[in-house]
């Protein structure tokens, strides 16, 4: 079995599964929210806050936020290991890829904390 210290679970199969489970959650949330906005043309501030302060919606949003963090990490990791390679960047590839992955992880963590603040700061 091939393992890699920088992927999410050190198992490609587990990453593969995580990418798909998170994708289904993200798709459900996207369709729900787009549908809600399209079907409510005269949306008011009261409707909008009522939607997001509902407990079921908070759980759904938090779940989606976790899925987003997992999904974007696996996606950005895949892209970095495919394109930031020694073939393209020579001996600087490893440090470049590492820095890119650190930046992606850090950005995603900050966005996650921000998202939690938005949902629970209401």
């Amino acid at each position: 079995m091939v393992t890699n210290v920088t992927n999410l679970s050190r198992s490609g199969l587990y990453d593969w599964m995580a990418q798909r489970v998170s994708a289904v959650l993200l798709a459900a949330y996207t369709l729900f929210l787009l549908g809600y906005v399209v079907l409510n043309p005269g949306l008011t501030y009261a409707d909008w806050t009522a939607l997001f302060s509902n407990n079921a919606m908070r759980i759904f949003s938090l779940l989606t936020l976790v899925a987003l963090a997992v999904h974007s990490w696996v996606g950005m990791w895949t892209i970095s290991t495919d394109y930031l390679t020694p073939m393209a960047f020579g001996r600087y590839a490893t440090i470049l890829r590492f820095l890119f992955q650190v930046a992606c992880g850090l950005v995603m963590f900050v966005l996650f904390v921000w998202g939690v603040q938005i949902l629970w700061g209401l």
Binding site: R20, A23, V24, A27, T30, L31, V38, Y45, W48, T49, F52, L68, S72, G75, M76, I79, C104, L111, W114, G115, Q117, I118, L122
Partner: protein, 128 residues
């Protein structure tokens, strides 16, 4: 022997000189749209944060989205989202064994382009 083998090996993998099949274009577009969405998360969270923070914040986001340039950016981001979504659903179907052959894969890629294009046009109609 060694020389003979080496001389016959195809070494040119310069993507710019290779005619890519339609499936390759839909695949790279899936990746590019994913990167666009990753970058867009911050903007979408800002919209959610500001719109939920107060009545005036809600009006501020609404007013911001009346700007033609903002509409264009929103259309771009949501187009990436719709493409990524449709391409992702195709991926899940392929995981179940549907459309993963050579011909069916090509057909699936063409269907993806058509479905995504229709949705993106409808999205544009909705935004403007």
């Amino acid at each position: 022997m060694n020389i003979a083998v080496n001389s016959k090996r195809p070494v040119n993998l310069d993507l710019r000189t290779i005619k890519l099949p339609v499936t390759a274009y839909t695949s790279i577009a899936h990746r590019i749209s994913g990167v666009i969405l990753f970058i867009a998360i911050a903007g979408l969270l800002w919209m959610l944060d500001t719109s939920l923070s107060s009545e005036s914040g809600f009006e501020q986001v609404k007013a911001c989205l009346q700007n033609p340039f903002a509409k264009l950016v929103l259309w771009g981001v949501l187009s990436a989202l719709l493409y990524h979504l449709v391409a992702g659903i195709r991926h899940l179907l392929m995981d179940t064994g549907i459309g993963e052959g050579l011909e069916s894969g090509r057909l699936g890629a063409k269907l993806l382009i058509v479905v995504a294009a229709v949705l993106i046009v409808l999205l544009g109609v909705w935004i403007w």
